[in-house]
């Protein structure tokens, strides 16, 4: 479980808060989506919760372990899929996996078994001996996903994991997310695609300008928008009407996107709903 209590971040070269008093609880056994427009503070939040960035204030607990007080123990319980897979082009794929395995203290048989399993699922077995620089962006993303699972973390954190993945790999990724939550583990991932969130998440949080503007399930989001709109002709009204008329999936997705945009717009104007 990941608990964020009032975390904030102001970068040294900025006077604006990138993340402002953000509180979230990401429970075990749930796939938790983290949505927001570009520059909303998703990556900053993820970097803070993984210990890559020091918050200006607030507390982070990973399975009850404080990231500030026991960073190494807290980090051992996280597997992170970074947003930039273009990091170590000069290393070979297995050298990168070995490095991560060594840092997490994964035994040889365990790491071999896990790499073998996930490399097969992501069709990457033939490229394990290749330099990372020779892999496509999608293959690098798959490699990052495998590396993040090499120590079988209790909390799996993914920053925009679908970017660059082919449909088969995206399907596998979603399947792995579900397998992990079934096993009682925590999955937290960021995206800016509402459709992905709708199909994958048990719960979601929407962030804009560093603040959480919604937290709950998709039905709850619809309900909240409906309450705010009070049966008017807003996006929620459109969504309801579409559903009632048995609209196509495309129309439903479209209305969901508009719902997201409406929410972000309203938070830009007069604060969270």
């Amino acid at each position: 479980m990941i608990e964020l209590s009032g975390i904030s971040k102001t970068y040294a070269k900025s006077d604006r808060k990138a993340v402002d008093s953000l509180s979230l609880t990401i429970p075990d056994g749930r796939i938790f989506g983290f949505l927001g427009p570009n520059g909303a503070g998703k990556t900053t939040t993820i970097r803070m919760l993984c210990g890559a960035l020091e918050p200006s204030g607030g507390a982070i607990l990973i399975d009850g372990i404080s990231m500030r007080e026991k960073p190494l123990a807290a980090k051992r319980r996280i597997g992170l899929v970074h947003d930039n897979p273009e990091l170590f082009n000069r290393l070979k794929a297995y050298e990168y996996l070995d490095f991560v395995g060594d840092v997490f203290g994964v035994s040889t048989p365990e790491r071999r078994a896990r790499v073998e399993e996930y490399a097969a699922r992501f069709s990457l077995s033939d490229s394990i001996g290749s330099p990372i620089g020779s892999l496509s962006r999608g293959m690098k993303q798959k490699l990052g996903i495998i590396a993040s699972l090499i120590h079988d973390p209790h909390n799996w954190v993914l920053d925009e994991p679908m970017v660059g993945l082919d449909p088969q790999a995206a399907f596998e990724l979603k399947a792995i997310m579900r397998e992990r939550t079934k096993a009682g583990k925590c999955v937290f991932f960021s995206t800016h695609v509402m459709e992905v969130a709708e199909k994958v998440c048990d719960e979601l949080a929407i962030i804009n300008k560093g603040r959480i503007i919604f937290e709950g399930t998709i039905p709850a989001l619809r309900g909240r928008m409906a309450a705010a709109d009070a049966g008017g002709a807003g996006p929620e009204g459109a969504a309801r009407e579409s559903a009632a008329a048995g609209a196509t999936a495309d129309t439903a997705n479209d209305s969901l996107e508009r719902l997201f945009l409406e929410l972000v717009d309203s938070s830009n104007g007069d604060g969270a709903l």
Binding site: C50, A73, F88, Y94, D98, F99, V100, V103, S107
Partner: protein, 560 residues
């Protein structure tokens, strides 16, 4: 509206030579002011240094040639020097800039004709060379002008010639390189190009150094310097054989008549015609080579037979985290040509450079060796090899760029359960592995050169390792305190990293200071070793005491 060709050429020049001056707001910060002034002073010093060399060279030659009535040869020598330098530079730059940023593939989809694409790239290469050519010729023209008072056309002809000299070499460089790129897959490999460019650059640096050293060794002897430029010298023969140089000389020589101006115009026409011809002739081939340039050949392994592991020997095997961290440091540095050539390879380059200086300055060094012979009989026997070793052991720039090089990976690294102490220890260990090798090479060279006794050799090696360790620790501290975190090209983290410049200058200053102190102090034979060993052990101990805490704090707060 500018033509497409001109727009592209200007874009190439701007993106390659983009010096972004700080804004007014940034200039209010003392750090920015200090940095800007430092860079400005550094640039001026470099220009002044090069300018001084060429001014002295021309003055000495003039003094030697004037009594023979051959002072005009000074201009032929300058034109030949400029031609040789721009010729080598043209090949190096055309090769290294062939597809330097990958942006070229983006230009392929824009409505440029192939000759426009190639021509614009040639303008970029030409621009860099023209700066060098003008710099060399202007100095010679100024000295000749002051001493001889030639007509005004002399200067116009000279400037036109300076701009004409790099044209033909640029055209020739592409005439050779474009077919090479098309013919060989090897030449389209970016790493290969980086290595070839790097080695060519080093070879060029060594040759240029030899040339400069040979000339500076004759500063006090105008007659010897004049031999460099007399009508039968190699430079003069080269100058007469290479048409652009010969035309440049004729432009100077005939400045009093229209013939000189015609020669300068002819030179420009010849260069422009050849460059335009190459752009038109090879434009399509250039585009084909660009299209093929980014081809990668991923080494795919055969799928494993059923029931067999897909992993080879040594793959996916557990190792201690520190070993893994050090291996990562070494791999990431040594597999990046930009890092390798400007880092660990210095251990090879510096001795080669010294060998060139020894070869060029033989006479002066013989005298110097005789002068320091008594010192070498005493403590100098181990102190000089120790100085060589200390310098080489700390000149790889590994430690002083360690954090900057890792800047892009910092957020990811910090998300892993790596103790800051281990992370920085790996960086120091990496530097120290090469420091030991560098010390061995440096001390070994000194010991061989001065026939140092075995005990003195051991002491020299120990001393070199202590000094280089202290300097590397200082370099790592510097880069931890002020890392260059935001960069797009590895060159910014290494070669253009101010920490690397500060570290190398500090090393030179400290080693020079030790030499001076050794001449000044009067101590027993091994007293120097005791003193310097203790002096440099103090910062090492202080580093162990204070650095880990400082580094851990910085590690947590660095914002990549």
């Amino acid at each position: 509206m500018k033509s497409r060709f001109l727009s592209l050429a200007l874009l190439h020049i701007k993106s390659t030579f983009a010096f972004s001056l700080p804004t007014r707001e940034e200039m209010r910060k003392p750090k920015t002011i200090l940095k800007t002034v430092g860079i400005g002073v550094g640039g001026l010093l470099l220009l002044a240094d090069l300018g001084f060399l060429f001014v002295m060279m021309n003055l000495t030659m003039y003094a030697g040639l004037k009594p023979l009535g051959l002072q005009g040869m000074l201009l032929l020598n300058a034109a030949t020097t400029a031609s040789v330098l721009v010729f080598i530079m043209a090949f190096m730059m055309a090769l290294s800039m062939f597809s330097s940023s990958g942006a070229e593939s983006g230009f392929l989809v824009l409505p440029f004709t192939p000759p426009e694409l190639l021509g614009a790239k040639m303008v970029l290469v030409y621009f860099s060379e023209a700066l060098l050519g003008v710099f060399i010729l202007i100095i010679a023209m100024a000295i000749y002008g002051i001493k001889e008072g030639p007509p005004a056309m002399f200067y116009l002809n000279g400037l036109l010639s300076a701009f004409a000299l790099p044209l033909l070499p640029t055209a020739l460089a592409y005439l050779v390189i474009v077919p090479l790129m098309n013919a060989s897959k090897l030449f389209r490999n970016k790493n290969f190009i980086l290595y070839v460019g790097g080695f060519l650059g080093m070879g060029f640096a060594l040759a240029f150094n030899f040339y400069i050293q040979s000339i500076t060794s004759k500063f006090g002897n105008p007659q010897a310097a004049a031999l460099f430029a007399n009508p039968e010298s190699m430079m003069a023969r080269l100058g007469r054989a290479w048409l652009p140089t010969w035309l440049a000389w004729k432009a100077f020589d005939g400045a009093a008549s229209p013939l000189g101006f015609l020669a300068a115009l002819g030179n420009l026409g010849l260069g422009l015609g050849c460059a335009a011809g190459v752009a038109a002739l090879l434009g399509k081939a250039y585009v084909r080579s660009l299209q093929a340039y980014s081809e990668t050949s991923a080494a795919k392994k055969k799928p494993a037979a059923a029931g067999r592991s897909v992993f080879g020997r040594g793959m996916l095997v557990r190792r201690p985290p520190l070993e893994s961290l050090v291996a990562r440091e070494i791999r990431l540095m040594n597999r990046e040509p930009m890092y390798l050539l400007n880092g660990p390879f210095v251990m090879i380059l510096m001795p080669a450079l010294m060998a060139v200086i020894f070869a060029a300055q033989k006479e002066a060094l013989k005298e110097m060796s005789a002068a320091i012979a008594p010192l070498l009989q005493g403590p100098g026997g181990y102190l000089v090899p120790a100085a060589f070793g200390a310098f080489l052991g700390s000149s790889t720039s590994i430690a002083c760029t360690a954090v900057s090089r890792d800047a892009k990976a910092l957020p990811w690294i910090r998300s892993l359960p790596i103790a800051p102490a281990k992370y920085f220890a790996a960086k120091l260990l990496h530097a120290e592995v090469f420091a030991v090798v560098g010390s061995l090479i440096g001390c070994g060279a000194g010991v061989a050169l001065f026939h140092t006794a075995a005990l003195d050799a051991v002491i020299a090696l120990l001393l070199a390792n202590i000094i280089s360790a202290a300097l590397n620790m200082g370099g790592l501290w510097l880069d931890t305190a002020f890392p260059r975190i935001r960069w797009d090209n590895p060159i910014a983290a290494m070669k253009q990293n101010p920490n690397a410049v500060i570290a190398i200058l500090s090393t030179m200053g400290l080693v020079g200071g030790l030499v001076a102190a050794s001449l000044f102090l009067k101590l027993p034979r091994y007293g120097y070793a005791m003193l310097y060993g203790s002096v440099f052990m103090a910062p090492i101990l202080a580093w162990f005491r204070f650095y880990p805490r400082f580094a851990a704090r910085r590690y947590a707060t660095m914002e990549a």
